[in-house]
């Protein structure tokens, strides 16, 4: 996974609350058992008119925001279905970070697993951001505004780590836990 340290890019405002994962990648756009080939279907419901003609009103179809790498949104971004395809689509399009008031829990974790940074800021701070935004993860700043992030997520992102490899370093502890648990809760293994 690509490590995330600092990033400067165009920030596209899609400021609405409760943008769910089906809006990010409609289920009908998930055509194969794959993590790729999804960016074309990203936001398809809003991005295209009939016959897949671009909808000029949609933010990412406007010249200055085309190819944006940061997305700005409102409350509860990525709520709804757990489909990781939403994150794979955003990533394939080129998004590196999302700045919103809050995030759907599963979506947030999916982002961390795929190297996308989710920054939580309040509505006024988001509204005040310009078209070009710089995010400094080590120092936890968006332009000059500080933000909070759980340390574990920060480390995973900065180091670009694969969760499975990382966890398997603790194989001894895991085996010990299960060996002990089998004695205490044999029914759970029956």
């Amino acid at each position: 996974m690509m490590p995330f340290t600092t990033h400067t890019g165009t920030a596209a405002p899609l400021i609405r609350d409760n943008i769910d994962t089906d809006q990010i990648i409609p289920s009908r756009e998930m055509k194969s058992v794959s993590k790729t080939g999804l960016s074309d279907g990203m936001f398809a419901g809003q991005r295209y008119l009939n016959d897949r003609i671009e909808n000029p009103d949609f933010v990412l179809n406007q010249e200055i925001f085309r190819g944006a790498s940061i997305l700005l949104s409102g409350k509860n971004f990525g709520c709804g279905s757990s489909r990781e395809h939403a994150v794979w689509a955003l990533k394939e399009y080129g998004f590196k970070a999302i700045i919103a008031e809050s995030f759907g829990e599963i979506f947030y974790n999916n982002c961390v697993r795929n190297g996308i940074l989710c920054v939580t800021l309040d509505r006024t701070a988001i509204a005040a951001l310009g078209d070009i935004v710089t995010i400094d993860l080590p120092h936890q700043r968006v332009d000059e505004i500080p933000f909070e992030i759980p340390l574990g997520d920060k480390q995973m992102l900065i180091e670009g780590l694969d969760g499975i490899d990382l966890t398997l370093q603790n194989e001894t502890e895991i085996s010990a836990h299960f060996a002990h648990d089998r004695v205490i809760r044999p029914w759970a293994y029956s």
Binding site: D20, V33, K35, S82, G104, F178
Partner: protein, 459 residues
């Protein structure tokens, strides 16, 4: 002692605390479905890894399987959907996990069959790449929805890396009124606290009204926790839970059953335990409820009016106006099904309303039982005959019209009353206007041709 039920489950599954305050939590069971599980399994195979306990990993086909009663093993309800079915089947065989295939007697929606087969058990941790995994907390399981990459992690390592969420308790005092269902309670709670109201908490439902619910009703209540941004939901297991689970396919047997229930009795929140948020809901305040908008929080009681400050975008999508009486709205479609409300008690409640009645002209009415077992039990009671005689289609188990993935659905612009859990824009198809309600309200509305409560239920 001052631990919550959630603390007890968390602590007993904590392998260790990692750097950054993230816990490594042991996972007892993983459930997958063909839509999001297929890609996790393929990715495991491609990376040359394998499941650490394949006997504790389950996969079923529910999301895009055909719901035609005479379906074949690869039939999808969406164009091109068969690749998800065949890929999942192949990957399941290669990885040696438990496959509950399309034509198996036990097939059904993951959150319906996991309890039904006794895979979900009190005190276990269970994850599934599906947001409604919170349903299964109804049995005292620590169950939560994850993404596909995390599912790979859980299958390969037997653990999850997760930061302990904050905790909330919602105590429902008193007893729900006659004709008021767990679905109404779920909608009432979401309406009260808002679509982000659970603040990523693990939510324990407690109180007299919750204890009085059957397991099927508890599943309905917990199902919708994700709709107000909960990490998950949980209910302390009790005699109702034990009675429900005894003798099911995957529950412990004999001596193991005795040991299990002896331990399950301690899975309760201690009297002195504290929550980050401790809320109380009066059961008396809960009325038969229906949504008017495009979020489950946009809900009102069935005899009331769309709020005067209602969100304009939602109003325009739904084709309704501020101050409009919800029970005057004409409907074009009715759907009974989904992991929220497709179990036997749901079908019985709907059939009671439908008996001897006819669906109104022009209403496309469909019932899809949550599992093939529910379907068989319903048929044994003759419920299918009541549904069919009333004019309902009677499908084979799966998610069906709960969500749109291409293929057949209700026409754009149609108004549908639905026993499902999401009324997001386009959820049931492009332009389809979804109103969420209980199965009895769906049935009564299908007959009346407009949104209405069953006769004899005061709202």
């Amino acid at each position: 002692m001052n631990k919550t039920l959630f603390d007890k489950l968390w602590d007993s599954h904590r392998v260790m605390t990692l750097e950054g305050g993230v816990d490594l939590i042991a996972i007892d069971r993983v459930f997958l479905h063909e839509r999001t599980g297929s890609v996790a399994l393929e990715s495991i195979i491609e990376s040359g890894r394998s499941p650490c306990s394949p006997e504790h990993v389950f996969v079923t086909m529910d999301h895009i399987v055909s719901n035609k009663p005479d379906r074949h093993k690869d039939d999808a309800r969406t164009p091109g959907g068969d690749v998800f079915i065949t890929a999942t089947r192949e990957a399941a065989k290669k990885t040696g996990i438990n496959l509950i295939d399309v034509l198996d007697a036990d097939q059904g929606i993951v959150h319906v069959i996991s309890p039904e087969l006794g895979i979900a058990q009190p005190g276990l941790t269970l994850v599934c790449p599906d947001s409604h995994t919170c349903s299964q907390g109804a049995l005292g399981v620590l169950a939560w929805g994850i993404g596909s990459t995390d599912a790979e992690h859980a299958i390969v390592t037997g653990t999850m890396r997760v930061k302990k969420p904050p905790q909330m308790r919602i105590t429902v005092t008193g007893i729900l009124g006659a004709g008021v269902t767990a679905k109404d309670l779920a909608l009432h709670i979401i309406k009260t606290y808002g679509a982000a109201g659970a603040k990523r908490c693990a939510v324990e439902y407690a109180g007299e009204a919750v204890q009085a619910l059957s397991i099927e009703e508890r599943l309905t209540l917990c199902n919708m926790a994700v709709e107000f941004a909960a990490f998950t939901a949980i209910i302390a297991p009790d005699e109702t839970t034990f009675n429900y689970l005894e003798g099911r396919r995957f529950t412990p047997k004999d001596e193991m059953w005795q040991q299990a229930t002896a331990q399950w009795k301690y899975l309760i929140t201690d009297a002195a335990a504290e929550f980050d948020y401790d809320y109380v809901i009066e059961a008396n305040d809960v009325k038969p409820t229906v949504t008017w908008g495009t979020s489950p929080a946009q809900a009102i009681s069935i005899d009331s009016y769309i709020p005067h400050d209602a969100d304009l975008k939602a109003l325009s999508y739904m084709g309704v106006t501020r101050g409009e009486n919800i029970s005057k709205l004409k409907i074009d479609g009715a759907f009974i099904g989904s992991c929220t409300n497709s179990r036997l008690s749901d079908l019985r409640a709907a059939a009671k309303v439908l008996k001897g009645q006819q669906v109104a002209d022009g209403v496309n009415a469909i019932c899809v039982p949550g599992s093939m077992a529910v379907r068989r039990e319903a048929e044994a009671e003759g419920l299918d005959k009541i549904f069919k005689a009333a004019g309902f289609a009677w499908g084979a188990a799966g998610c069906a019209f709960c969500f749109y993935a291409g293929g057949d659905t209700f026409a754009p612009g149609t108004r549908v009353i639905s026993s499902t859990n999401r009324n997001f824009e386009g959820r049931q198809g492009p332009g389809v206007r979804t109103h969420l309600a209980s199965p009895a309200v769906v049935a009564a509305s299908a007959i009346a041709g407009k949104i209405t409560a069953p006769k004899g239920v005061s709202s």
